[in-house]
Symmetry: C2
Subunit: 520 residues, 2 copies
């Protein structure tokens, strides 16, 4: 009996599971079908999507412009509310508000937070072909001779290679616009949400995200989630969709070395009065070789090596090195034959500037009074800014320097031969989300199945994003999902977005909204 | 008989020589008497001397200001002519004219050319306490709280520690004024000239003496002489009178190294795109150590060592190193314990400027596109600019660089890893007049006997003056005889001359005019 019962139970259980699976798969839409429906919706509404975007891009969005920031936040708030999203502004002090919104998915679903920022880099309007906040459509990129298309008589169908020129057209209003269109598309197509969605649109990223940490700390429950998807930056140079599982940390340093109190005639004092530019050359040369290798003792000690999976992913990244070198006029690259993607997985010491005396027409036969170097260190997981600071200072002391943090007075200068003034910027650590996490795998599968093509999977971006905050404060992993074109002139003049990248982004967000939740 | 004749002849000859010597020494005034007479004259005419000088200093004197240069030249011409000197202007193209004058001494006398320049360094009037061409008298130096003295109500007796503030008050109108007053003084005191005097006052020294070579070549007979005395620069820091028997040569070089064609994000490309600031640090560090030693192979091979006499003279130079270090806020000096005067007898490599990317507030997390260093080399006798150029270029090639002289095109950049663009300035060699020459000894004795004190005798100034031209073109040796105070702010704002230095200069020139010719 007992045995028969057990057999029946087993059969019943199997039946139950098969049924559940059927019910589940009935809900779970085929990702390619989803994508087709969304594309169809987009094709029917291109003009309307663009009109909404052009309005958005017309709003000046410097973080320092409080009134402008508020207008942008209000605009986004109404975008969210029009789509039935519970939305509000999260304010900290007088800073540009975060626009927050949420939309519930099926019961017991996972929660995804989508991050983007609505502020833009400062502009030098004189360098722009058209005013930065008067969006202009061109039939291709300016570099390729793109011609302006009058926005008052737009056709219903927009050319996929067209470009929209405006500050933040790519960085970083594009993902916000694409998410809104994706929501419209799945609603119209009656595709249910597969996850709970939260939206977090920041207004001061380009100014250093000064209140991000405070905001996360103030709203731990509101911002509770299973994953943060940071939508920022461009896709791969080949145009392939890309996902970053981490970012390097960063730490800035300015070094000042001292010569005589006033510039001295190099004929009368050269060879005798210490030349700080010479000292700086020796100091910098002692810190890093021309191949990128950092020579500071212990600098690589804490470095967490890449996992097998991460190394495998790197190998699959398309090799664009030769093409890049050609584009950049480089006869070689640092790293003794290592590829770009290998090199940016390592910590780096970049000299971003050096200055002493004068060069060119202004050069005088004088011994300079000071020499300065500005450096940025890029950190990888498990390095900390504090540890790096210690190692760098030990190294500088080993070179014979007395370290100060303020301008040394004459007494100090007389007491020490070599003096280095150090000014450290507050840095932050690297962050890396394992590619093996269920959520990581779910995101990859969602996009790869939906687009029917392989993603470029990078263990980390070479750039720095304070991703560690989400893990440290909210305990949530984070990944970066860029959507805009590589040649977008981000941060510079004539920033633009390629229309096809907007269309692709709409489909990707729709897949994440309507499909990803079923995969983990 | 023959023997007796020979004896008589010997006696006669001895008598003749004794007589000649007596006649000669009767003419030859005692140098201290000469000095006293000149001083007496000056004490009676201080106000008049100063009035003439203030008029002279009121004339703007930039070499680039043609009309101003002409006014200065005309003014000097009239100064000379008023003193009965045969004078004229030597013109080359449109350049500021040389004012030339001559005055004959006793028959068969030696000929001395006195050189000075009447043009001044460019001014940044905003940095001056009073307008550069409105001479102002102060009762001491500005640094010591000097108070202005109204020039409309000058007393007959001028304070010896007073200062005259104006562009070129020291550099280099002071010797011209002092020579004129010295001529007045010896004429009034009925002291005959001991040598033929020639005067050569240039008007574009601060602009690089662009026509000096041509002028010397055009007038070899007019400028024929036994010695050039170049009156420029300040006396020793201790206030002691100084003579330089040579000058270092000079050779300028600007090095440009190349990174990517456009600035690249240091996060995305750092460690891979070559950083030209790093390369420059290594290249410069390979060329010179922090102690002034040049590391370029063969750089010291041609160096002519100092003679015993020259080394002896150096040992007698007052040691001001410790005091200078204190003044300049230096806890040490280059040269591993060697003194300033020893160090400036050696060739030198001075980095006068370095520049790449940005430092300070403007620093961006970017890899710079270029890095530049501006260098001046100081050469000593027997080094040539051509040889130095070869050695430096060999060294740069040895560091792996491909050398170009114009901005490399993209193709060149793609073909070579490391590229250095070199821009050489036309340099010139060092020059050194032997301290053992009769004329050298005569000059030293004249001043030492006249002032009753030891001169500071330097084999060479550390600075560069194209003294080699006088030797090369005219076959004449040259020395430098500075007369103005050390703390004169030469080339900078608030240039000034100490009145006592003017008075001393008048006596020194009078000794040279009225006494030196008897000593060689």
């Amino acid at each position: 009996m007992a045995r028969a019962i057990r057999i029946i139970s087993f059969i019943e259980l199997s039946l139950f599971l098969a049924l559940s699976s059927w019910i589940f798969s009935a809900q779970k839409i085929n990702p390619q079908t989803l994508r087709e429906k969304v594309r169809h919706f987009r094709e029917q509404h291109e003009r309307a999507i663009l009109d909404e975007y052009l309005d958005f891009l017309s709003l000046p969005n410097l973080a320092s412009d409080r009134a402008g920031s508020q207008k942008n936040a209000d605009f986004i708030l109404s975008l969210l509310q029009r789509r039935g999203i519970r939305a509000k502004l999260l304010k900290t002090d007088d800073s540009p508000p975060v626009v927050y919104g949420e939309l519930s998915g099926p019961p017991a679903a996972q929660t995804i937070v989508f991050y983007a920022h609505y502020d833009g880099q400062p502009v030098d309007a004189a360098q722009w072909a058209s005013p930065p906040w008067k969006p202009v459509l061109r039939d291709k990129s300016l570099e390729n001779g793109g011609q302006e298309i009058s926005s008052t008589s737009l056709p219903e169908k927009i050319g996929s290679e067209w470009r929209i020129y405006a500050r933040s057209a790519s960085d970083d209003k594009a993902p916000i616009l694409a998410m809104m269109a994706a929501l419209d598309a799945i609603k119209e197509s009656q595709i249910p949400l597969s996850a709970n969605l939260k939206f977090f649109f920041e207004g001061e990223e380009e100014a250093g995200s000064l209140h991000l940490e405070e905001t996360l700390k103030k709203h731990p429950d509101l911002l509770k989630s299973d994953i943060w998807i940071l939508c920022d930056g461009p896709v791969h140079q080949t145009g392939r969709q890309l996902i970053y599982f981490g970012a390097r940390g960063v730490c800035g340093l300015e070094i000042t070395l001292y010569g005589p109190l006033r510039p001295l005639h190099s004929g009368h004092y050269g060879n005798w009065a210490p030349n700080p530019a010479v000292q700086l050359s020796h100091l910098l040369a002692s810190m890093r070789d021309v191949n990128g290798r950092i020579l500071i003792k212990g600098f690589y000690d804490d470095v967490l090596p890449l996992s097998e999976t991460e190394m495998g992913a790197l190998k699959e990244v398309p090799d664009v090195d030769q093409e890049l070198r050609k584009e950049l006029g480089l006869g070689w690259s640092e790293g003794k034959g290592k590829s770009l993607v290998e090199q940016i997985m390592l910590p780096a010491l970049n000299i971003r500037g050096i200055q002493a005396g004068n060069v060119g027409e202004k050069a005088q036969n004088a011994i300079p009074t000071e020499a300065k170097a500005s450096i940025d260190f890029r950190l990888v997981p498990n390095q900390t800014a504090l540890r790096i600071k210690t190692l760098v200072e030990d190294h500088i002391r080993d070179q014979g320097y007395f370290i100060v943090y303020g301008t040394p007075d004459k007494e100090t200068r007389l007491r020490h031969s070599l003096i280095a003034k150090l000014a450290w910027e507050s840095g932050y650590p690297a962050s890396r989300t394992s590619m093996g996490l269920p959520v990581s795998q779910a995101l990859v599968r969602t996009i790869e199945e939906g687009l029917d093509s392989r993603l470029v999977k990078m263990p980390s971006t070479g750039g720095s994003v304070p991703m560690y905050l989400f893990k440290d404060i909210l305990g949530a992993p984070a990944v970066i999902l860029p959507v805009v074109n590589y040649d977008n002139n981000q941060h510079g003049a004539n920033e633009n977005v390629r229309v096809q990248n907007l269309w692709d982004a709409i489909e990707i967000f729709a897949l994440l909204f309507g499909y990803s939740g079923y995969l983990w």
